[in-house]
């Protein structure tokens, strides 16, 4: 039996666990397996279904859909959303698979009409721009900024502090700290603007710039020999070690 909330025609199904000060606007629908923590705001026409757990202080803008399932089986997997996120209009966040939940961390801004696929992971402090499509099982690490119409293919990883330009097709992992552009993408350089804003020092940024030139030289992938040579050097700064490790672990989608 559906329970009608403060606005007529907003529906909170029996079994949903909603904290007392959650604001639910008109025409929202909340399914029976949903948990919403304190401080959340649902503007209007927001749909939250499936086995979805929403943390504190999130704001859901009108017409967003959380926990959807492409095949109608929303309860197959879970969707876990952290604290302090802004989920903007027309965003669709799919529920997870049986193996892996869809996970969104803290303090993210997921802009208009983004699609976050089944089993995808979004870290903390990301800004995901309009119409970014994050396919199933993709991973967006922390402090990433995407531009409009970025497409992240299945199972790809966008490294921390990276920036993707508009219309980028991410068909291989995006190295951390990088700026990538094009389809297929090339590494345009170090994302200095974001690194400075996040408190990285001049020395680290200079070290990264030097290593980027040697490794990528304007291409979209790292030169294997240079990568091997750099990895042997114990004295590289910590940021460079993080970069090299990410490059060694990366996946590449062929074709």
């Amino acid at each position: 039996m559906a329970k009608v909330f403060q606005f007529q025609f907003s529906v909170v199904e029996k079994g949903a666990k909603i904290a007392p000060n959650v604001k639910i606007g008109p025409f929202c629908y909340i399914g029976p397996d949903v948990e919403i923590a304190a401080g959340c705001v649902l503007d209007s026409n927001v749909t939250i279904v499936g086995r979805t757990t929403v943390g504190k202080n999130n704001r859901f803008f009108p017409m967003s859909v959380i926990g959807a399932a492409f095949d109608g089986e929303e309860d197959k997997g879970r969707c876990i959303i952290g604290e302090g996120n802004s989920i903007r209009e027309h965003v669709v966040i799919y529920s997870g698979t049986t193996r892996k939940p869809t996970r969104i961390g803290q303090d993210n801004l997921i802009m208009i009409a983004c699609q976050v696929g089944s089993g995808a992971t979004i870290g903390d402090h990301d800004i995901i721009a309009n119409c970014t499509h994050i396919s199933d099982d993709a991973v967006i690490e922390d402090y990433v900024r995407t531009s409009a119409f970025s497409f992240v293919d299945k199972k790809m990883r966008v490294g921390a502090y990276a920036f993707t330009a508009g219309y980028v097709q991410v068909t291989r992992d995006v190295p951390p700290y990088s700026m990538v552009q094009g389809s297929p993408f090339r590494v345009r350089g170090v994302n200095t603007h974001n690194l400075k804003a996040c408190g990285f020092g001049e020395q680290d940024i200079r070290a990264l710039k030097k290593v980027f030139r040697e490794l990528f030289n304007g291409k979209g992938f790292a030169d294997a020999e240079v990568l091997a040579a750099l990895s042997k050097n114990r004295k590289t700064p910590q940021v460079v070690k993080v970069l090299l490790k990410a490059l060694k672990n990366q996946g590449t989608k062929k074709g």
Binding site: F9, S44, M63, E89, A113, A148, F149, G166
Partner: protein, 293 residues
């Protein structure tokens, strides 16, 4: 049977013309004004300090007047003004202005905004433009009369799309687009877009006289035969003495060249742009300019 009139949330302070129609599941906020003959579809959300003129058709699922996605927005009751006889497709989002961007977003008259497009804060869309499906306009953009943006194109902050220009599908626009030109890239994967030819349909739509058309076409072929030495070509044309649309074209290109990154409107950062000053009431404008000092 439930009365459709009850399946809407219309705030009692909203001012809605008696012959305006609003579909079910719509949500209309307290500061909204909707003019006569305007029709809203189903699940339309209109919020914020939004004024919608007469004779508009607004499709299902639109969210109009929401807060900007700009981190600099501080929660003021900034404005959105939509003119008359626009045709706004389903799932369109239009945001109000920001305090530092001029306080107002404005859509003019007789525009076509197709499904899924997004008009961000502080944009000015003039009249009779055609904005295609899923087009994403960032903030502070000026789209002049008659411009066409085809499906899935996107424009960077502070870009100006000139009169009757045409931006091709999936084109990332990062600099000003001159009037009456076609702007796209030959391959959409890597090559930067550029001016590729003349928007002949735009020239027809602009209703110019024969002489004006001829002069404009001459100017366009002079300037955009190739993209080199634009400054020199502009000066040559102006020295030869051009008038009307051709002169406006030269002035547009000159301003873009002088603008940062090829965007003339970059000079309006942190200021009230002239288009906003024209729309804002005088006391409000004075107040904003005082607060910006």
């Amino acid at each position: 049977m439930v009365d459709v009139q009850t399946i809407r949330e219309i705030h009692s302070s909203a001012r809605i013309a008696p012959d305006a129609k609003i579909g079910p599941y719509s949500v209309i906020g307290p500061e909204v004004i909707i003019g006569p003959g305007t029709v809203l579809g189903r699940r339309v959300t209109v919020m914020g300090n939004t004024t919608i003129g007469s004779g508009n058709v607004i499709g299902d699922g639109c969210v109009i007047g929401c807060t900007p996605q700009d981190m600099k927005y501080r929660g003021a009751s900034t404005m959105l003004v939509i003119g008359h006889k626009n045709h706004i497709g389903p799932m369109v989002t239009i945001h109000i202005g920001t305090e530092l961007g001029g306080y107002v977003t404005r859509i003019g008259d007789e525009n076509i905004l197709m499904g899924g497009c997004h008009i961000a804060h502080d944009c000015f869309v003039d009249n009779r433009t055609h904005i295609g499906r899923c087009v994403q306009l960032a903030g502070h953009i000026l789209v002049q009369d008659g411009a066409v943006l085809e499906d899935m194109s996107g424009a960077h902050h502070f870009v100006t799309i000139g009169r009757y220009a045409r931006v091709g599908q999936r084109t990332p626009v990062r600099r000003d687009v001159p009037p009456f030109t076609n702007f796209f890239s030959e391959d959409y994967g890597w090559t930067s877009p550029s001016v590729r030819g003349v928007h002949t349909a735009g020239i027809k739509a602009a209703n110019l006289t024969r002489e004006e058309q001829a002069e404009l076409k001459r100017a366009l072929s002079e300037l955009f035969e190739d993209e080199t030495a634009l400054q020199t070509k502009i000066e040559t044309l102006e020295n030869m003495g051009v008038e009307g649309e051709a002169k406006a074209l030269c002035e547009f290109c000159q301003l873009s060249l002088q603008g940062k990154f090829g965007r003339n409107r970059e000079s309006y950062r942190g200021q009230v742009p002239p288009e906003a000053a024209a729309v804002l009431p005088a006391e409000k404008l004075a107040e904003i300019q005082r607060s910006m000092q």
